[in-house]
Symmetry: C2
Subunit: 289 residues, 2 copies
């Protein structure tokens, strides 16, 4: 086959997979090549546009380092991340839904005890969180490992502050016998995803805003249950209906209630207003979908 044209080339490329001995890889590559070629034919991609695409991908790769993952941001903003989460995290009725992992998780955050302040100096209005970890029968799940992370009052995660020597507004707690956890942190605020790179330029060029509604991340693991990666959003956020990464689900809206200065749920007396959040997470048993 040496007279390939714009139509016959697709089968010619697929024929090269004949010796692929990994059936799943062959399936994925076949679909990828078909859609890539169909896309190019559908828009009659010009050589200049092709080069723009090459340069965009190259710049996206060059923006990635151990603190920043621009390709995850690209996937998030194109809806691919949430699509993958939605396909792979079908939950039984009543279980808390999953959402995007995001680029700001770290593997070894600090450990905290029940009731402690995980903000560790992060800026923001005080927030007191109480939550229960339950199963779909409403029974408590004790000793669940609850990993929490969030942005501060400036909309920045600790890992986005190069000068910061410690972790802020993130940590791990474990649920008690009644499945409860309680901790102090700071009120999350809506924030823009980083806009100084290729993905930010894409958002601007396509007339999109870069904002995410305020949320706290939770990753909850307990023996016998499916791992749950999710957020709890502020139910009054202006960006709930236009989250730049499409991560909002109505079951993940939490009531962040404002209180005037005075006594807090954990027995402190504050001279400034503070917030409380109470939320129940429901884990799906392993093997149930």
């Amino acid at each position: 086959m040496v007279n390939i044209n714009e139509h016959s080339i697709t089968q010619a490329v697929l024929d090269r997979l004949d010796n692929c001995d990994n059936p799943r890889l062959k399936t994925v590559m076949t679909s990828l090549i078909r859609h890539l070629h169909d896309f190019a034919r559908e828009v009659q991609l010009s050589e200049e546009e092709w080069m723009t695409g090459i340069q965009f991908l190259t710049a996206t790769g060059h923006m990635c380092d151990d603190k920043r993952q621009e390709f995850i941001l690209l996937s998030d903003t194109l809806g691919l991340s949430m699509l993958t989460v939605a396909m792979q995290n079908a939950k039984p009725p009543g279980a808390t839904e999953a959402t995007v992992f995001g680029p700001f998780h770290i593997d070894h955050p600090p450990q905290y005890k029940d009731g402690e302040d995980i903000s560790n100096g992060a800026s923001g209005e005080p927030l007191f969180v109480t939550a229960r970890i339950l199963n779909t029968e409403g029974k408590p799940v004790p000793a669940a490992r609850v990993n929490i992370w969030q942005a501060d009052a400036d909309g920045l995660y600790d890992v986005q502050r190069p000068d910061l020597q410690t972790n802020q507004a993130r940590g791990i707690l474990h649920s008690d016998e009644q499945g409860r956890i309680a901790f102090q942190t700071v009120l999350p605020v809506s924030y823009p995803v980083p806009t100084d790179g290729p993905v930010g330029h894409m958002l601007l060029a396509t007339g999109r805003h870069p904002w995410r509604p305020a949320h706290v991340h939770f990753k909850i693991d307990a023996p016998g249950y499916q791992s749950l990666i999710t957020h709890v959003f502020r139910d009054d956020d202006a960006y709930l209906h236009s989250d730049v990464v499409f991560g909002v689900r109505s079951s993940l809206l939490g009531k962040y209630i404002k209180h005037e200065a005075g006594d807090t749920p954990d027995g402190q007396t504050l001279k400034t207003p503070f917030y409380t959040l109470n939320y129940d997470f429901v884990l799906a048993a392993e093997g149930v979908a």
Copy 2:
């Protein structure tokens, strides 16, 4: 819309393009998002596979620098480059066909005069090339700018040799009043594309070889004619039917004829065998397809 599922998410992402004031960008992004999502749904992409894809793209970006373009190599090996060339370079009957540009072109190669040796010390068996630049009516095209580049006997382009201080086996000549050019160079050989990066790993994992059939690159520009970017392949190469970048067209096969030691076409006497190639390039007039 806060209860997006794996099906409704595509329209939700497309709705975000409502404020895109660049109609062409909107068209391209719409098709890209649809095909990206269709691909993920079709293969039921897992979260682990998604992460493998993120890591592959990141590594591909990190391999790119001013000497190497791994994303072009990825596009080439997936057939996207040749598909784009084929769509955008429809030629009138009789005109020489275009093929991939490749990653080894440079902007300012050395200038040579008619009959000179452009190899400039590159390794390889001597090759004497004569060619004519014609139009589709068979008339000569004088003063055409002919940019030539190729790999040496090791299958390497000069830019792939970091220690080399000069350009080898590349240069620019101009056609004479009869549309003729003549130059000495070295015989091109088949060579593998670079396999030490992510694209090489992809070729290996999918059971593909990395070889390109032997060829010399030509980029020909003349006032009043469409720019022609093409190769002339050795018509006896073992990889003609399996070029890893799908660039071969039967009209681009040249006869590289072997001669025993003795008198060359330009009046030298060589003690070793040498090759000759004679080929006519036919340019399409501007505005004709």
